[in-house]
Structure formats: C-alpha cells, structure tokens
Amino acid sequence: MTAAPSIKSQPVYHAIDWDQTGVEHLLFIAADDPATLDRLLANRPPGGLTLVVAAAEAAERLGVAGVTARMVIEQNATSALHALESLLQQATMGLRLYLVGPEDAIWQAAAVATRYGMSSAEIRLYQTGTKARPVFCVHCRAMTRGVRTNLADCSGCGRTLFVRDHFSRRLGAYMGFQIDAEIPGEKPPVETVYP
C-alpha cells in the first residue's frame, strides 16, 4: 500500500475485487499480475464473464489454466481498446468493468467506457505492471508516454518537463511543465521514480 498522495487528484488504487451488484462482468487485462488475476479468477462472480487480454504472458498463462470465460486476446493495447469498444457497444446495463494494468492503458480504457455512458460506479481500476506515466505537456499539449523519471523531455516541444502528481482522468495523464522556466538550465538531477 502506498501512502496517501500529496495531490488529491492522484488516483489511489485499492485491491480489486468483483462488484457483487453487477450481473455481467468484463475484465480488461493490460499487464500480467498473477497474484491479483489468480485470486479474482478463483472466485468468480455470478453472471457472465468476459476477459479482454492485451498482455501476452497473461493470455498464455490464463489459456493454459483453462479459464472458463469468454476470452478475447489481443496483440497490443490499441487493438485491445478497439475490442473493448466493440464489446461495450453491444453491452447492456448491469455490466461492471474491471481494468487491470499500467495507468496508461487502464485510463484509456476508462475513457472508452465513459464515452458509452458508464459511470465510476460501474468501473474499477487497478494499477499493476509498470508505473511509467503518460505525461501531458501543458505548453504544447503533446502526450509523452512511458515516462519513468521525475523529468522527461517532451515529445512535442522538447522542453524538459517536471512530472507532477496532478492527474487528469479525462486525459489519463499526469501534468508536465517546464522545470527550468525560471532559470533556464537549472534542473534537478534525473531520478527513476516510476519504474
């Protein structure tokens, strides 16, 4: 368990569990997390269950384990999001969505669900896998993905951005601003903070 965040917009992830109030369940997996996934699948909720798996190791392991659920296996996060969207287009009220994986993937998936009118009461998120962050540059509005360090060079304008803990659920990203705006060239040391 991590300490409470200093910036209140930063998401806090609790151990994920089935929502017993739902009658249909969709589990979106973007990173393998055997402890979490095995625990969940050992204790299936009543109602239908579909898995959308965008992580090769998870797909292989779950396939071998003979999970009796509808499984949609995708090669990468992008095609997994398309698959998710197709499923949501046909889904009906009573569905609960569970998003397990790195923050980048799970918040992009949450954005798809929001477009289909799902509320936070129907969606549960759990961060696992890499802690790398997507960073939104407040100066040029470009998104720089896979950031593991406190500072990152913006993929759009090249500025060195400080990666804040202020998080936008709509963008699914953390805020980045130029670290040496006041005194150009004066930057703190780079550290790997989000491995």
Partner: protein, 318 residues
Amino acid sequence: MNMQLDMRLSRIIELAPGIREFWLCREDGGELPTYSGGSHVVLSLPLPGGIQRNPYSLLGDPADCNKWRIAVRRQEQSRGGSVWLHDSAQEGQALKVSMPANLFPMARLGRHHVLIAGGIGVTPMLSHARELARLGESFEVHYAHRAPEFGVLADELRTLAGPDLHCYVESRGETIDFSKLLARRPLGTHAYLCGPQGMVEAYHRIASEMGWPDTHVHSERFLAPPPGAPFTVRLAKTGKAIEVRREQSMLEAIESSGVQPPFLCRGGACGQCEMEVLDCDSSLLHNDLFLSQADRDSGRKIMPCVSRVTGGCITVNL
C-alpha cells in the same frame, strides 16, 4: 436565506376528478425565471392552522416566463395542503412561492433516458420530456394511471414523445413490468421515476437486482411529513420553547415562531434543513431519506421537515 416570490393563482383547471392544475403568476406581473427540467417550487399555503409549505414539480414550458404550472392530487390522508388547494383556493389567491430548485435533474451525459410516471408523478416527467425533446435527446415515457380519465397531461406528453409514450391503465389491467422495462438496455441508459411509494420501492429493488448502478437509477419522492404525537422543540440559543402540533412538522412549528431556518425540498431528501440535536428526553423518529444510519444512531442530527420525536422536549442548536 430562501428567496420568496409574491405570486397569485391565476388559473385553476380541473384535469380529472381530484386532480387540479394551478397556474402561478407574479403579483407584480413581472417575468418569471426559467428553470431546469425536474425543478420544484415550494408553496406557502395559508392553512387555518398555520402556514404549511409543500413542494410541487413545475410541469410547464420553462420558456414561458409569464406563468408556472403545477398539478396537485387531492389527498384525504394528508395534512391538509392538497385539500385546501382543492376545496378552498380560488383564482386570485395570493401565495408566497420559492425560487425553483432542482433535486431531480436529467443526467446530461446519458445516452438514452427512460421516464416513468405513476399517477400525479407525471408532473416532473413532463418537464423532463420537454427538456429532452428540446435538446433532441433519445428518450421514452411510461405513464401508469388508475383509469383513462386520470391520464392527465398525456396529450402534452404525446406531443413531446410521439410513439415513445406508453400508457398503462390500471383499470384495464395494464401495469408496468420493471423487469421487462429495464431489461437489455444499452450502456448509458438512465431511468427516472416519480410515483407512489410502493412503485418507487419496487423500481429500485428490481433495478438493483438487474445490476443497474444507483448512478443511473433516479427517483423523486416527496415525503409528506407524517403526523405524530405533539412535542416541544427548544431553541438552545434563545431558549425559546415551541409547541409542535400533531399535523405540523417541526420545521413548520419553528417557522411559525418567526425563525427562518434554511430549507430546500421540505420532503426529507436534500439535507438542507439538518439541525444539530443537543438534547432529547424522548426518542427521535427519523422519517427522512438523507441521514446515514450512523448519523441516525448518533442521535445528534435531525431533519425537522419530516422527522419528529415521540413526545417530551427536543433541544436543537438554533
């Protein structure tokens, strides 16, 4: 501070046996503010025993700035407000009316809206239908009433909803089957209901069984303050002791003494009138929809618009 407008009943229309429509205009002939679908206003009714304040949904066109329209069913088993409106109120009657407030708004991010009305509960559904039609949103209406002559305002609904209006006439054996109505609805569907208590309870129970989250299941229920044994309420800051009569709510009794606590819905749903209980020598009777079980158990909070105590004296921090 609750703003009140000086208004008058400019027209009374018999819609059906025991159902009347009332038009409200400003005393000074000025324009009325517009409002959102689902809004209600609170009328201060000058009953012989004292002012009774009751909420009523606005059912008319919000763009009509000359009048507000409400509809009221005459209820025998009531504290007298609807009886007074049916039996005593005349066109021209002056009334104080609050500004519109909305505790039953439309979900703007919804992809489809299912409006369900039971009896006089059609009034807020009509204003929702107007708004949804104006915005070009996808919606349907289901209107259950006792007998054909009680399908009041159905023609206005028909104009707004066309073939998406479905009527259920009880006298013909037609009833709403919630498990059918709520089945296989696409994600992002919102349901709204206003009707009698039994209907509201069945709706919530079935929606929940079908896995609908609370965020998509809306209902409006105005509780009438239930009567009870008389008691005394003491205002701690002034020491004033006020008698609460059997048919009078605690809030109304406090208001009759000249104090103006904040309120919004008058029906135990919104939390605005919440008061701190400092002392009570009998038991609290919580009749509201707002306080959590923990708050109720603490004995330190009460909603004076609908809740009471079993006798004796309650002291509140006013």
